[in-house]
Each structure stands twice: as structure tokens, then as C-alpha cells.
């Protein structure tokens, strides 16, 4: 039973990763592409590792997979934030569809 549920969760994770990759190609600029990548991380990668945990239970493999979920949750948003902030500060423009930019005044103030 656990094996079937684990395989279903892994499948959901793979589908989410696939859709995230399509988003990475289709979206127009750096910031929206980062959005697609964080989408991959949450349901995709963590879904796959959580599926491995459900599949193999409290064995050494399962607990390691659970630890990877926790560490990815803690570290991946930091890298996304650093990439977005560095891109903005080094002058990467937002795409034409963008409607507002409240951050500009803060950057101009220094």
C-alpha cells in the first residue's frame, strides 16, 4: 500500500517538475522564470523526495530523503532571492507585460 502511494506522489512530483520546465522556457524574463523554478522546487523536487520517504518508510533511505526535503525547503528560497536581487541591482529589466515596480524607488535611494 505504501509503495503505491509513494509511486503516486513521485509521479505528481515528476509532472510538476515537467510543467515547471515548460514555464522556464515560456516565461518572458528573469523574475517570472525564477517563479517557475521555485514552483519546481516545492511540489516537484520535494514531492519526489517525499514520495521516496513514503515508499520506503522509516529506513535509512527514507529518513535521508526527509532530511533532504527539509534542507531544500530552507536553502532554495535563499538562492532564488539572491538571484532576483542581484539581477535587479545589476539592471536587468522586467518584461513589457509588467504593470508596476515599487522597488525602483528603494534602489534609487541606495
Amino acid at each position: 500500500m505504501n509503495e503505491i502511494i509513494g509511486k503516486i506522489i513521485i509521479s505528481i512530483g515528476i509532472i510538476a517538475d515537467f510543467i515547471g520546465c515548460i514555464g522556464l522556457i515560456r516565461f518572458p524574463d528573469v523574475y517570472t522564470r525564477l517563479q517557475a523554478s521555485t514552483k519546481c522546487v516545492t511540489l516537484g523536487t520535494c514531492g519526489i523526495f517525499f514520495g521516496v520517504f513514503v515508499h520506503s518508510g522509516f529506513t535509512s533511505l527514507g529518513i535521508k530523503a526527509l532530511l533532504i526535503v527539509i534542507f531544500v525547503f530552507l536553502t532554495s528560497p535563499v538562492s532564488s532571492h539572491a538571484l532576483a536581487r542581484a539581477a535587479y541591482r545589476s539592471g536587468v529589466k522586467m518584461c513589457d507585460k509588467s504593470v508596476c515596480d515599487e522597488y525602483k524607488s528603494q534602489v534609487d535611494r541606495g
Binding site: I19, D29, Q35, T42, P77, H81, C100, E102
Partner: protein
């Protein structure tokens, strides 16, 4: 503080051995990594040590995690819908969000939650005035009260109880 470091090294090493089994290769890797980790991060302390002993914080944290998972799955479906539709209904922009949190850990957790929720990405933080700058994939409102209500309040009202 040398005893504390030796204790930490042994603790990390024992957990590693329990997780991976007794083999020569595992033991060598475990010794190397546990010493390296303690040398790099052994000096880090918890800032407010009295907060560790309050049990209701952990209950709130579990509740927070459930709310967070629900929001993440909801937002994931929303972003997947925007990616798949042929005309891509996106309206990106950077908005401001107000926060009442003061502690470093609370702010980090809030910014991380905003980033991990698909559709929103925290770009920068203004700690003095309590603003977080958030890139939003579909800007529904520019007004600061509305954005706070829609993006961060669902997380912040719980985090305010964990990090008062």
C-alpha cells in the same frame, strides 16, 4: 567550550552512523564531515534562549506547516494553469508588503514562505520600515494593505504567535 564541540561532533557522528550503517567508508566520511561541520558552525547559538522552552510554539509551528502546505499546493495549481494556457495570463510586477515581525528568524521564515509559494518571490527586505518587496506573477492590487492581506497575512498571523 571545547567540551560542547566534542559533544556536538559525537552527536552528529552517531546520527550519521545510525542512518547509514557501520562500514569503513561510512565511518571515515562521518568522522571527516562531523569535524568539518563543527569547526565551521559550532559557534552558532540560539539568540533568545528562553523561547526554546515554550511548548505552544511548537504546536503553532505544526499548524503553520499545515497551512503552508495547503497554500503551496493551491498556488502550484494556479501557476501550472498560467504556464499551460496558450495565451499565458500573467501580469508581473514588484509590490510592497508590510510586516510587523521584528526578529531575524521570523523575517527569514516569512520571506522564505513567500518565495516558496509559487507566484510570489521576495526580492528584498527593508528591515527598518518593515517592508518586503515581492515580485508577483499576477498583480491583483498595488495598494499596500490589499497586497499584505493577499500575500503575507495568512502566514504572518501565525508567525506573530511563534516569534512575538
Amino acid at each position: 567550550m571545547i567540551y560542547r564541540k566534542i559533544f556536538l561532533t559525537l552527536l552528529i557522528f552517531v546520527i550519521w552512523i545510525i542512518l547509514s550503517g557501520v562500514e569503513l567508508y561510512n565511518i571515515l566520511v562521518g568522522i571527516f564531515c562531523s569535524i568539518l561541520i563543527v569547526l565551521l558552525f559550532g559557534d552558532i547559538n540560539i539568540q533568545n534562549q528562553w523561547t526554546v522552552n515554550k511548548p505552544q510554539r511548537y504546536l503553532w509551528f505544526i499548524y503553520y506547516f499545515i497551512v503552508f502546505l495547503y497554500e503551496v499546493i493551491k498556488a502550484n495549481l494556479d501557476v501550472a494553469y498560467r504556464i499551460i494556457l496558450p495565451n499565458m495570463p500573467i501580469k508581473p510586477g514588484i509590490v510592497r508588503v508590510k510586516t510587523k515581525l521584528k526578529s531575524d528568524a521570523g523575517l527569514t521564515l516569512l520571506a522564505n514562505s513567500i518565495t516558496l509559494t509559487p507566484g510570489t518571490l521576495s526580492v528584498d527586505i527593508d528591515k527598518d520600515n518593515g517592508y518586503i518587496y515581492v515580485h508577483w506573477i499576477y498583480v491583483r492590487d498595488i495598494n499596500i494593505e490589499e497586497t499584505t492581506k493577499k500575500i503575507s497575512w495568512k502566514f504572518e498571523k501565525i508567525l506573530l504567535k511563534i516569534f512575538p
